[in-house]
């Protein structure tokens, strides 16, 4: 810490005194026409203005500032302000051909030469909503990016899928890259139907204020240079760096409040009968239901960050400190994060050598992150509680003392594995999720000649994590030992990456040539640590003391290692250009992967190629067209296979015996292969006021790595095969329009539209389907002709007239013998609509996101119906019966007793059909209103903003938020089983630049 303070004070020292003065001038086109509405911005700040009807501007600038002039349809310009007071500018018409974008490995490329789709989101856009996890802010801002936020509140994980699920057994998570270097994004435990917690992932640990921009490389085409890790696409994060000039200090501080947006519709007028735990009385009462609302609290998020940056021609530095203090909507849930980032670069040896380094330090602590699923989830007991009983007595006295033992235990009205006293759960099973993380990198870049450079990089990403929960004795007997139970897992996640690149660029007449060759080494070790798993039988020796000495012999202290992988690669890329109108891109990579050791397939090669034609350079196009290009690319990439499946060994059982490995060794394992091609075109019109980018892609995944149960008689219990074929194809369309562009008011709007069609074309020949998630209420499986994300539920038995068939004896609705296909959890298509208005000093931004098609499933609603606590069961009791189009024997039936009906369809394993909802929803995802002003004689720009997130639904079919995931694993998207309710966030933010 002392070192940091030292650095901090040096930086502060160099802030100096910043004199402010005014610069003015006129902006004209090359034809001499004044340009109206040109953006004039002091670089690195939010201070700026636009030119008036005469093309004139006037702006207050500090000493040694840089002014940026930008205007749609024209090439932007930057001018260093020395001591001039008048700066006149001439802007050149035409798209910025020289615009440089960051692609794989951090290599900068001219945007127009790219042969694949990529989309960049600026850091400022991500900050507008002030989500604690920047990934959640990506939603709707880029096409083809499916974001699912975990329902487990701050610090929870996020599921990101680019262009659909590509793997049956492996994962489809994209690769996350910081400044060209892969980072660890190891998602740990996820809740299931039966309960559990979200262990978070690596992304919540990044300070959003450090992000300069995020570029999404959606296809494997773009990512071929990352090899197998890039097979599912890449999210490139570029962090901020110091800029030449005097030190700048930016402070931003915000507070948002979080409230429930949508929770189940519960009844409070019918109680239980005869002391049951269900509320199926038919005698109407009037019970106080305020305890449900009272249980939740207003969540708050305080987000503060300060950054200091600056530099000279040789040395640049950036330092930031960020801090988040949040409390969730369930009591006792808190989240605290501290980030420190220091990034610097120095030029040496006659500016030929650039040495850069970056250190990111994070401390993240979540307490009592909300659970999902049945077990040890406060929401089950809260929602189920029989209406005629007195909740307050259980809330106020959630524990009772067992006088014989002198230990406390929970006070609840029933012994039931599904429910516990909610307040007991909140107070007597404290959970901690803690991460201390360091990402450090060093970059050396040596310019050998003007055309040839070599660079080497090294990165070490190390996280020490603790997941711990202490269950007090006397908790729910299904899960908790009479002396208390202890879940403890302390582990490290580690990623070491180094690479070396040789870059060569030259022009030969009309031809240009760019060559890159390189090698990389990467080692990841995830989940290396010590673990104790407690449950009803694996408890403590003496009550409520949570440490190793207090573990009885039947509780194992386990050494864990979840995965370990070394990957070595050689790769090369060549880009050949002709007259800046035709580009050909060739790349190849060879990987050596340790997870394939012993198979003879450790080494595998994959190529990719792409081509681009800039039509607007090749042909004379109508004047309305300012830019046009077409592109095509094709690539083949291997997808990783998991650790330790080739030849697993035996495990030591808690009993002291040895569990023989009964998985058949898989000695001819091959990498999964993803072959993808994409075709795209990009057009811009009317001086850049309107443009679109359209991509069609087709991704074929073969040699899927599939884990199968071995036939009982085979001598093994599991075996693996390489088989199957999945095709993802889809369209992505990005449209941007600037309908209004005047000095007073500008309005830019963009649409991100995408659709993905997933088909499991073929399975293993011996295998009709793979069950991937068989739980109560629903099942998911893959079968040829189906899609990943298909869910299966029990439906009503119906006759030829589509009437529900009732049991001849007791009249309950009958369900189908097998679960049947009920739809797919993924949407048919998605749309993000992003709007920005600027009106003088005011700015307004809002984003509308829509998901159309697909289904969502709620086990919560089914359980609430079965227990008679949902509003619909009460409404039906009010009405004297549930309306039904049914038949019993040969008698048509139009009403049915609600208890009979809902007990048959609801509860744990009833008839899922009524609980499958259309996923379609449209919502106002984000809203921000900002006001820019400045303090101290215009020396200090200040931005005040009112921000809101997830504000309301414009359209929603399901009774819960289908975009909130119980688990961020593949098969549990859009499933609800006592998830924490969806929330709306509103807040205020202030940003000051000194």
């Amino acid at each position: 810490m002392r070192l940091l303070f030292t650095i901090l004070s040096i930086l502060c020292f160099s802030v100096g005194i910043m004199a402010q003065r005014t610069v003015s001038g006129t902006v004209t086109s090359t034809e001499g026409e004044p340009l109206i509405g040109v953006n004039v911005l002091v670089k690195g700040t939010t201070t700026g203005t636009v030119t008036d009807f005469d093309g004139k501007y006037s702006v207050s600038v500090p000493n040694q500032a840089t002014l940026e002039f930008s205007y749609t349809g024209y090439t932007p310009q930057e001018v260093n302000v020395t001591d001039q007071s008048v700066i006149d500018i001439t802007l050149e018409e035409g798209i910025a051909l020289g615009e440089v974008v960051v692609t794989a490995l951090g290599i900068e490329r001219e945007k127009s030469s790219l042969t694949f789709a990529q989309q960049t989101v600026e850091g400022t856009e991500l900050l507008e909503a002030r989500d604690i996890n920047f990934l959640n802010s990506l939603s709707g801002k880029a096409a083809g990016v499916e974001i699912k936020k975990s329902s487990s509140g701050p610090g929870g994980s996020t599921r990101v899928v680019l262009r659909g699920d590509k793997s049956l057994n492996g994962n489809s998570d994209p690769l996350f890259v910081i400044d060209g270097i892969p980072m660890a994004n190891n998602r740990s435990g996820q809740p299931g139907m039966w309960g559990g917690f979200d262990g978070g992932d690596g992304m919540s640990q990044i300070n959003p204020d450090d992000i300069e921009s995020i570029t999404v490389l959606r296809g494997s085409n773009a990512a071929a240079l990352y090899g197998s890790q890039g097979a599912n696409g890449v999210v490139l994060i570029t962090t901020k760096e110091g800029k030449e000039g005097p030190a700048k200090v930016s402070v931003s501080s915000g507070i948002t409040v979080e409230n429930i947006m949508l929770k189940p519709d519960l009844q409070f007028r019918y109680g239980s009968e005869g002391g049951t735990k269900e509320s199926w009385s038919t005698t109407r009462g009037n019970y106080d239901g305020s305890y449900v609302d009272d249980f939740f609290q207003t969540g708050t998020n305080q987000i503060n960050s300060i950054s200091i940056s600056g530099g000279t021609a040789r040395t640049k530095a950036y330092f930031s400190f960020g801090n988040v203090n949040a409390r969730g909507i369930t009591p006792q849930n808190t989240y605290n994060r501290y980030n420190v980032t220091f990034k610097q670069s120095t030029k040496m040896l006659n500016d030929k050598l650039t040495v850069g380094s970056n250190i990111i330090l994070t401390n993240e602590v979540s307490r009592n992150r909300p659970a999902a699923g049945y077990y040890l989830n406060p929401l089950t007991g809260l929602y189920f509680f029989p209406r005629d009983r007195d909740f307050a007595s259980f809330r106020d006295n959630y524990s009772v003392i067992d006088p014989d033992r002198n230990v406390i235990g929970q006070n609840w009205f029933v012994i039931d594995h599904h429910q516990s006293n909610p307040y007991w759960l909140l107070n007597e099973q404290p959970r901690t999720d803690q991460t201390n993380r360091m990402i450090g990198s060093v970059t050396l870049d040596y310019q050998i000649t003007e055309k040839l450079s070599v660079s080497a990089r090294g990165n070490y990403d190390f996280a020490s994590k603790l997941q711990e929960q202490q269950f007090t004795s006397g908790g729910n007997t299904t899960n908790i030992h009479p002396n208390g139970s202890w879940d403890y897992w302390k582990f490290t996640d580690e990623l070491l990456y180094t690479d070396a690149l040789l870059k060569f660029n030259d022009n030969f007449g009309d031809f240009s040539l760019g060559l890159i060759g390189g090698a990389s080494y990467q080692k990841t070790v995830f989940g290396l640590g010590t673990r104790v798993d407690g449950d009803a039988n694996n408890g403590l020796l003496y009550a409520n003391e949570f440490f190793f000495q207090n573990l009885p012999p039947n509780v194992q202290v386990q050494s864990t290692l979840n995965s370990r992988l070394v990957k070595q690669a050689l790769f090369a890329n060549a880009t050949i250009g002709f007259k800046e109108m035709l580009f050909l891109d060739l790349s190849g990579r060879n990987d050596w992967a340790s997870t394939l050791a012993g198979t003879g397939n450790e080494s595998y090669f994959y190529p990719s190629f792409g081509a681009t034609a800039v039509l607007s350079k090749m042909f004379e196009l109508p004047e309305a067209v300012s830019f046009a290009k077409i592109r095509y690319s094709n690539s083949k990439v291997g997808n990783e296979v998991p650790y330790n499946v080739v030849n697993p060994q035996n495990t030591i059982a808690a009993s002291g015996g040895v569990n023989r490995n009964t998985q058949q060794p898989f000695e001819n394992l091959k990498p999964e292969i993803i072959t993808s091609s994409e075709f795209g075109t990009n057009w811009r019109f009317f001086d850049d006021r309107f443009g679109f980018d359209l991509t069609y892609y087709n991704t074929v995944s073969t040699d899927q790595f599939i884990n199968l149960p071995a036939p009982s008689g085979s001598g093994y219990t599991r075996y693996y095969v390489n088989a199957g074929k999945i095709i993802n194809k889809g369209i992505e369309l990005v449209v941007d329009v600037t309908p209004i562009y005047t000095p007073k008011l500008t309005w830019t709007t963009s649409f991100n539209f995408w659709t993905n069609d997933n088909e499991v074309v073929e399975m293993h020949p011996d295998l009709a389907s793979i069950t991937t998630g068989q739980s109560e209420g629903y099942g998911s499986r893959f079968e040829a002709g189906g899609s990943i994300g298909d869910i299966y539920v029990y439906k009503f038995q119906r006759d030829a007239q589509n009437r529900i068939i009732l049991d001849e004896n007791d009249g309950r609705p009958l369900k189908t013998a097998m679960q049947e296909l009920a739809g797919n959890l993924n949407p048919d298509w998605s749309l993000g609509w992003n709007n920005n208005f600027k009106f003088g000093k005011f700015g307004l931004n809002f984003i509308v996101n829509g998901k159309f098609g697909g289904v969502a499933f709620s086990q919560t609603e089914s359980m609430l119906d079965g227990a008679g606590v949902s509003e619909r069961t009460a409404a039906d009791r009010d009405a004297g019966g549930t309306t039904i189009d049914a038949v019993q024997g040969d008698q048509p039936v139009s009403t049915i007793d609600p208890e009979l009906y809902y007990r048959a369809i609801g509860d744990r394993n009833g008839i899922g059909e009524p609980y499958v909802y259309d996923r379609t929803n449209v919502r106002l995802t984000q809203f921000s209103l900002s006001y820019r002003t400045s303090l101290f004689n215009n020396t200090t720009p200040v931005t005040l903003s009112l921000v809101g997130q997830n504000l309301f639904f414009l359209y929603l079919e399901a009774p819960f938020d289908p975009e909130l995931a119980m688990s961020t694993n593949r098969n549990a998207a859009s499933l609800d089983n006592f998830n924490t309710p969806a929330t709306r966030t509103i807040g205020f933010n202030i940003n000051v630049n000194f």
Binding site: T477, T478, A519, A536, A597, I652, A653, N659, G715, T717
Partner: protein, 525 residues
């Protein structure tokens, strides 16, 4: 010059990228234990026995919600899956099969391969004995099972018919007893044997007792083979499990007694109504060893001096908490160290039946009947056995379910025999007494009494009150019992031809009403 240095650089890169020697180590989990390491201390064969033993018994869905309910030992208060489940003859869970193959057959196969290659005949015999033990219990569920073709690489794996299975088991028991007898001084098992601490003589007694048990199973369907094998078991110099010191227990390797977890941890099991009826009617002193009194004293107005209440099997249940106050299993089971798997009382009841069937060397039925009861009392530490054996008037009680209205869940006891032996009665009555006492002694080890009940019809248990059987899994008439468990879904899907062939061997549809081979439905004598 420059070009050369670049080439050199690339060359170095290639070298470092090409170094993959440690890949196999990297891809191996250091916290697993290799076969090579296990060679130390004979662990490569021995260390798998605890795990195999630990899986001889299943858990809630394999026993408590299956055979333990079918034989009316324990009853569940929980209306699982809307009250329509195994206990009401609609199959929801059928997983003992998976446990036996996954956790016993798969490791046993590898142990056998290693032990056979090393000519380690004691471990071969031991693994085979556990395989016979597990398979004979599994076959009691399904009938034909995969046995001789286990480990085949064929796509279709055929099941063994029941006659084949019993012949194979008898032959294997011959080999096992012979191998054990040649090595009675071998000490290598002790480290892995929590049941008998490596006492090979004790394992021989178990093998002989199992032979007697399996012989009795087929006493009606193949009387001559049954007699031959039964007499062989009785005559073997190695002896039978005949006193409590010989009893075969399996340690709770999980660290807990599974029925106690189901009862106390999950609140999913209680005393059965039939246990209430029989223990209460016979004034059986073992009741306090088996069960705790009900915690609500309003539950048993019909027998206030006998403070126990059980749940009817196949009952009409509304809410789980209705019957949580009924009698739990005895609290002492929460710290019970081991599961009884074959005990001396069972041997004596087998010998009593053998005597009725005139098997040579069996002794007299009365002696073994009374010794069986005495051994059971001794095993549980219950007093009063002399008076108990002399009681010729007490009969099991009729049952009333206080939590269900009217006569819902109630039954009239069909057991009309008292405890006291009467040498003058006919064989059928004697058999009923033997079976009733065998049933009472079999607490927490209920597979064999499920076999006996199907084979002999005794004890005269109450039928299901609620019978949800239908065409899906086969129909059980209201005055009959479930006869078997169907073949498992995994096999129906993955090995359909094997299942079709097994259904042929079964001799009837793959349904729960189809009788197994030894369940002839004919007269007992």
């Amino acid at each position: 010059m420059k070009k050369l240095s670049i080439l050199k650089y690339l060359f170095v890169l290639t070298l470092f990228a090409g170094c993959t020697d440690d890949f196999a180590d990297l891809n191996t989990n250091p916290y697993q234990i290799s076969d090579e390491s296990l060679r130390q201390d004979n662990n490569h064969v021995g260390a798998f026995f605890p795990t195999m033993l630990n899986n001889i018994f299943g858990d809630q869905i394999e026993h408590n919600l299956a055979n333990e309910s079918f034989v009316r030992h324990l009853g569940t208060p929980t209306p699982f899956v809307g009250g329509v489940n195994n206990t009401t003859y609609y199959i929801r869970w059928n997983s003992y099969w998976g446990r036996v193959y996954g956790s016993i057959f798969a490791p046993a196969r590898q142990v056998l391969q290693i032990a056979e290659a090393e000519n380690n005949e004691v471990f071969v015999a031991w693994a085979k004995l556990l395989r016979v033990l597990a398979a004979s219990r599994l076959s009691a569920y399904h009938g034909p099972i995969i046995y001789s073709n286990y480990g085949s690489t064929d796509k279709v794996i055929l099941y063994d018919s029941e006659p084949e299975l019993y012949n194979t088991w008898f032959a294997e028991l011959d080999e096992i007893v012979a191998a054990f007898s040649r090595n009675t001084e071998f000490g290598g098992m002790a480290k892995f044997d929590d049941s008998f601490q490596g006492d090979i003589g004790a394992w021989i007694k178990l093998a002989n007792s199992m032979r007697l048990q399996l012989a009795m199973r087929i006493s009606k369907v193949n009387p001559s083979l049954a007699k031959t094998q039964g007499e062989k078991a009785i005559a073997d110099p190695g002896g039978l499990i005949s006193t409590t010191e010989d009893n075969f227990y399996i340690r709770n390797y999980d660290g807990f007694f599974r029925p106690a977890r189901i009862c106390f941890g999950w609140g999913d099991t209680r005393m059965s109504a039939t246990m209430e009826s029989v223990l209460g009617g016979y004034k059986d002193p073992r009741v306090s060893k088996y069960f705790d009194p009900a915690t609500d004293n309003t539950l048993y107005p019909d027998h206030p001096d006998f403070p126990y209440k059980g749940i009817r099997n196949g009952a009409e249940l509304v809410a789980k908490d209705d019957r949580l106050a009924y009698s739990t299993i005895a609290s002492a089971f929460q710290t019970w160290p081991a599961r009884r798997c074959f005990t001396s009382s069972e041997t004596h009841f087998l010998l009593a039946e053998a005597a009725l069937r005139d098997w040579a060397g069996a002794g007299t039925a009365m002696d073994h009947y009374e010794t069986g009861v005495r051994e059971s009392f001794a095993e549980w530490g219950a007093g009063g056995v002399d008076a108990y054996l002399q009681d010729d008037t007490s009969l099991p009680l009729d049952y009333d379910d206080p939590k269900a209205s009217g006569d819902v869940n109630d039954f009239v006891s069909r057991i009309k025999v008292p405890v006291k032996w009467d040498e003058g009665e006919d064989k059928e009555v004697k058999l009923e007494k033997i079976m009733t006492q065998k049933w009472l002694a079999a607490v927490h080890n209920t597979i064999e009494i499920w076999v006996d009940h199907r084979r002999t019809g005794y004890p005269k248990l109450p039928y299901n009150y609620k019978n949800d059987s239908n065409a899906d899994w086969g129909v059980i008439p209201d005055d009959d019992f479930l006869r078997r468990m169907p073949f498992v879904n995994g096999e129906r899907n993955n090995n359909p031809e094997g299942v079709a062939d097994a259904t042929q061997k079964l001799g009837g549809p793959d349904e729960i009403g189809t009788r197994l081979w030894w369940d002839t439905g004919g007269p007992n004598f």
